[in-house]
Amino acid sequence: MGMIVHPPELYPDEQINQDVLRPVFVTTWKWWILVAISGGGFMAGLATWFYMMATGMWVSGLHRPVMWGLFISNYVFWIGLSNSGTVISAMLRLSKADWRRPITRAAEAMTVFALLIAAQFPLIHLGRTWLFYYILPYVNQRQLWNNFRSPLVWDMMAIMAYLGGSILYLYLPTVPDFAILRDHAEGIKKKMFTLFALGWRGTRREWTTLNACILSLALLVLPVAVSMHTIVSWDFGMTLVPLWHTSIFGPYFVIGALYSGMALVITIILILRWAFGWQKYITPFHLDKLGKIMLVAALVWFYLWFNDYITAWYGKLPDEKIIFDIKNAGPFYWWQMTMMLSNTMVALPLLAFKKFRTSPWAMFILTIFINIGMWIERLLIVVPSLVQKGPSFTWTTYHPTWVEWMLTVYPLAGFTVLYLLFVKVAPLISVWEIREDKVACATKKMGQAELRAVVAE
């Protein structure tokens, strides 16, 4: 107790402006190299997608009855990654956690970009991608509508709600920062930021309205995030497929998304910390807090996974036992073990130690391994249930082709390139919010210690 680890150590405003705005204005060769690499990967993935559209789905490893493979597990994985940004930001804003301020922007941006990437997979995996708009409820002269009874339509609606909410939740709180950029920029950038800033001046009315808006958005977006991951789970849960048809999938997907999303938030803020020298803003204190949230997610995730596991193991329903066996003793055994190793056996004990949680390198490596484990988890949900469903005459195996592997790299490259471009458009630490922290917080001398005091509204 007593040590104030949490920033900002009362920097002057000019210092904050300089530290946080620098990446927007100063572009290094490293940035260009990263953009070239990830942009190349993105273009290659896009080319692969068009190649598949032009030739046909046979270039993938999909076949009857494995109709969904890597495309859909990538989809679930990226939807999951998109969870935590807006969710963590909204939770911390609503609970008025002051330490949220340096990480909210980076996390919200992560949600938007991961979601933009994830939303492509339902399109990638369509047999006739060019007719994707049939799924939208649009007015047409044939009076044909989409089927609101289909989980895929629920999914489409949920993605639209969450994406819309997340984009607004990212953009509107950035408007005051665009005003700061507008005041500091020159030339074409000044024009761009003037446009983005919408003429923001910082009047009392503007601030009051913005704060009310942020709170309303947080309240609306938080449950929609839960609904979106639940509905993704219902794409599986609503079917009659053994080990898909389970009611635990809703909460299990939500918590899995929180787990992998938290891991990505930590990975990203650590990269930002190193890349831009933000050690004073993103501190071990934040890693500790985020690590604790991730620990809770990991525990609940394992708890729900075990519920699912033991129900199938004990029940031994014939159809379910077939799938259960190929997961736990058959061809998917090593995948399952890798997942359990990285997500539970290693992650849980390590995250329990504060020393581990506050170590940037250790957390960086662990969070990457957690996400590899979570990717495997999605694969294990989608594929095993399909390879041996239905009459045993049609049972099969599944071997993804290079097309599917390319389109597994594609989202990573696409996400990276979007994020890199965003670095040049907006400060990834919310300038006005950390200044607000400075206004609201002070140190108070009490006895022999200087403690942190917060001005409450």
């Binding site: 700061i180 919408l198 910082g202 009047t203 609306l220």
Partner: protein, 171 residues
């Protein structure tokens, strides 16, 4: 003559609040005074009537409207063109409940955003008073004045309170 804003940038919040106090004491109407800040200060510190926001109510209202629209779209399109599928009722309440909720959220979210822009009067192309130091954290008091005597009076009051830089901004 056109109205003129006196724009006074302070480097201290307390000084800016003091400037407003002096202006109010000198019978400048509160509605003509505003503060531009780089940070959302608690509104009561300025001694001016705090602006109120209806965003939450508007968002809640449109949430309800969205819910009604969602249910109408889901069940109405099913009813207009009834296609039975797999023994699911044409009006399948559990499924349409989901659509109802998602529509409600989409309406609520966009209503909150649009209402925010309307309420904050953004985006604006108008020539409004501003001081470039606002984004460096200087609280800036603006007073709208109608005649030159008032302008000089306001400027001297604000300088007395400790304004670092005072501009005049003609509308």
């Amino acid at each position: 003559m056109a109205d003129v804003y006196v724009v006074a940038a302070f480097c201290e919040v307390d000084a800016a609040a003091d400037g407003i106090k002096r202006l109010l004491a000198a019978d400048f109407p509160a509605r003509n005074i505003d503060v531009l800040t780089g940070v959302p200060y608690p509104p009561e510190i300025w001694g001016l009537p705090a602006p109120r926001s209806n965003i939450r109510k508007i968002a809640a209202l449109f949430f309800v409207i969205g819910a009604a629209c969602g249910f109408t779209v889901a069940s109405g399109t099913g009813w207009l063109y009834p296609l039975p599928t797999g023994a699911k009722a044409i009006i399948s309440l559990p499924a349409y409940g989901i659509i109802t909720y998602e529509f409600a959220t989409i309406f609520g979210v966009f209503a909150a955003a649009i209402a925010t822009l309307l309420e904050a009067r953004l985006p604006t192309m108008k020539n409004l008073p501003y001081h470039p130091r606002v984004s460096e954290g200087w609280p800036t008091v603006t007073v709208r004045c109608a005649d030159s005597q008032n302008i000089d009076g306001a400027e001297s009051l604000l300088r007395l309170a400790g304004a670092q830089d005072v501009l005049r901004h003609a509308v």
